[in-house]
């Protein structure tokens, strides 16, 4: 078909891909999220072989394949390893832009994890800053039970 014919016939039909999913936390992950919800406690898990504390916790150590069950209570304070500012708007975002994502290494953990930063202007952020978790009053066993991390 020529370009002209192509443009004459081709068009688009709006539709969607819609399916319902449900994810099971299982015994292991339920513990992490219920501690967040019920006690405002952040847990990590330690691999005794690699001597690493993982946060977020995971049931198996990726490096040595050991099963992990040594829970460690972490501080709600940590160090900012990196950050980025999102200025554009899209559906499925956790907040309205400008959104600041940070990688935070909590005291006691050997890994960083991603969360939001709040109560701060982006220009004031510095790598290495000390930050602290701010919890929501109404919590639902979600990672968003922590509202954001604020500088201290």
């Amino acid at each position: 078909m020529s370009r002209k014919e192509h443009d004459k016939w081709a068009y688009s039909i709006p539709g969607k891909l819609a399916l319902n999913y449900i994810y099971y936390l299982g015994d292991f992950n339920t513990k992490f999220f219920t501690e967040l919800r019920d006690n405002k406690k952040i847990l990590g898990v330690k691999c005794p072989k690699c001597n690493r504390v993982y946060m977020p916790p995971r049931p198996v150590c990726g490096r040595c394949l050991s099963k992990l069950d040594e829970w460690v209570e972490l501080s709600d304070k940590g160090t900012l390893l990196s950050y980025t500012v999102v200025n554009y708007s899209e559906p499925y975002q956790p907040a309205a832009p400008p959104i600041i994502y940070g990688i935070i290494k909590l005291d006691g953990a050997d890994t960083g994890f991603t969360h939001l930063l709040g109560e701060v202007d982006a220009e004031k952020l510095r790598i290495g800053m000390r930050v602290q978790a701010v919890f929501k009053d109404k919590r639902e066993a979600s990672i968003q039970d922590i509202k954001y991390f604020k500088p201290i």
């Binding site: 039909i13 539709g15 891909l17 399916l19 319902n20 999913y21 449900i22 994810y23 099971y24 936390l25 299982g26 015994d27 292991f28 992950n29 995971r58 049931p59 198996v60 150590c61 990726g62 490096r63 040595c64 394949l65």
Partner: protein, 392 residues
């Protein structure tokens, strides 16, 4: 004449106990269970594995690039890896790819893992997503189908259809009896012919007990090169050959017009491996049978039977555990179907039969050659040929 660079054997087999739901674990832990089982079976450590090949049909869990998340569970940390996702044939394609990788000489010991956590998504809705959204998606009902079943099996009158339904029910009961002897199988039920024939209609003439379940589970295989395999185990199961055949999807009329991919694939496999009498030269067949109607239909296609011979074979019990050509000693896909793992389970179960390790569902006669099939999408087919004797 095509030839591998070097022989490849299955040295480790692992699978989970397949169930309808696994709310006690996440996908990572499910994958890890199978990987651990395979490593234990091969008496290897994760450090001995050079490359990890991972696969599933992600639309069922709704999370993409699951191989990244599952690095924790499948031991792929800082190892080479590939992700394969080819619909229902995923498990079989995983074995093909892993076999190719090891045969190439690039890697010596490889782990492949396929899984599905079906309860996290919707099976029928998900599979329907395979069809063209502008036309057939409005009609397709997942893997549930019934059109052409009776016609392809030669049942043109009501009497013929009734006889066919009876044989289908007998076949289902036979497979259920096999599954009861397989501790890993999902549906392990004591079924009667009446139970099957009175079960509710899904899509005419397909009934509930004709059809496979939705299962959650994982399967892992460890493949090794010839030299390593003989050091790792004294019972290596050699992958002699594998053939894949595709067709255009959902072109209506192709169902009736052309040769099936099953027949085409079997012909290629037999030609390449000098098999002229499959019923005699192959000892057992693990067929990917999503429902008993297709099981009967594809017996003819894979084994080049005469019209009606498939029905006769089932009526005479020739495909039962103690028969002369046992099909699906494990219970088959109608008993267990964690889609991303299912095709790999066919290879795994065939390997167990060759090794003599299938326990209560081990077929009584000696198994030197086993065949395993995979099915997916709109009639894609893969066939694997496994042997006890090392191929020359």
């Amino acid at each position: 004449m095509v030839k591998k660079n070097r022989n490849v054997a299955i040295v480790g087999v692992g699978q989970t106990y397949h169930k309808r739901r696994r709310p006690d674990v996440t996908q990572v832990e499910l994958v890890n269970e199978a990987v651990r089982a395979a490593l234990k079976d091969a008496q290897l450590d994760i450090a001995d594995i050079d490359v990890v090949v991972h696969g599933n049909m992600e639309l069922f869990e709704g999370n993409y690039q699951g191989d990244m998340w599952h690095v924790d569970g499948d031991g792929a940390y800082m190892k080479s890896g590939i992700r394969i996702t080819t619909g229902g044939t995923t498990g079989g394609a995983l074995v093909c790819a892993t076999d190719n990788i090891v045969a190439s000489g690039l890697y010596d010991v490889a782990l492949c893992v396929g899984f599905e956590k079906m309860e996290e998504g919707e099976a029928t809705g998900g599979i329907t997503g395979m069809a063209d959204p502008l036309w057939f998606r409005w009609m397709m009902s997942g893997a549930l189908t019934g059109a052409t079943f009776a016609e392809r099996l030669g049942a043109l009158t009501m009497e013929q259809l009734e006889r066919l339904e009876l044989v289908a029910a007998k076949l289902r009961v036979q497979l259920a009896d096999n599954a009861v002897r397989n501790p890993y199988a999902h549906l392990r039920m004591k079924l009667t012919v009446d139970d099957v024939m009175n079960s509710r209609l899904l899509v005419y003439p397909l009934r509930l007990f004709h059809m496979c379940p939705e299962s959650s589970g994982a399967c892992a295989l460890i493949l090794a090169s010839e030299e390593k395999a003989e050091r790792i185990t004294d019972k290596p199961v050699w992958i002699k050959d594998h053939v894949t055949t595709h067709l255009e999807d959902f072109v209506v009329g192709v169902i009736t017009g052309t040769e099936s991919t099953m027949r085409h694939c079997a012909r290629k496999l037999y030609e390449r491996n000098k098999i002229t009498n499959p019923l005699k030269q192959i000892d057992t067949f693990e067929m990917y049978d999503p429902n008993v109607w297709w099981h009967m239909d594809w017996m003819t296609e894979f084994l080049f039977l005469k019209p009606g011979e498939n029905i006769e074979m089932i009526e005479k019990g020739r495909t039962a555990l103690e028969g002369d050509f046992p099909i699906n000693a494990s219970g088959g896909v109608v008993s267990t179907n964690p889609i991303g793992a299912t095709a790999m389970l066919r290879v795994a179960e065939a390997a167990l039969q060759v090794r003599g390790d299938a326990g209560e569902h081990q077929i009584p006669k000696e198994v030197n050659t086993a065949m395993a099939s995979s099915f997916g999408g709109s009639t894609w087919t893969i066939l694997h040929l496994l042997t006890k004797e090392k191929p020359k």
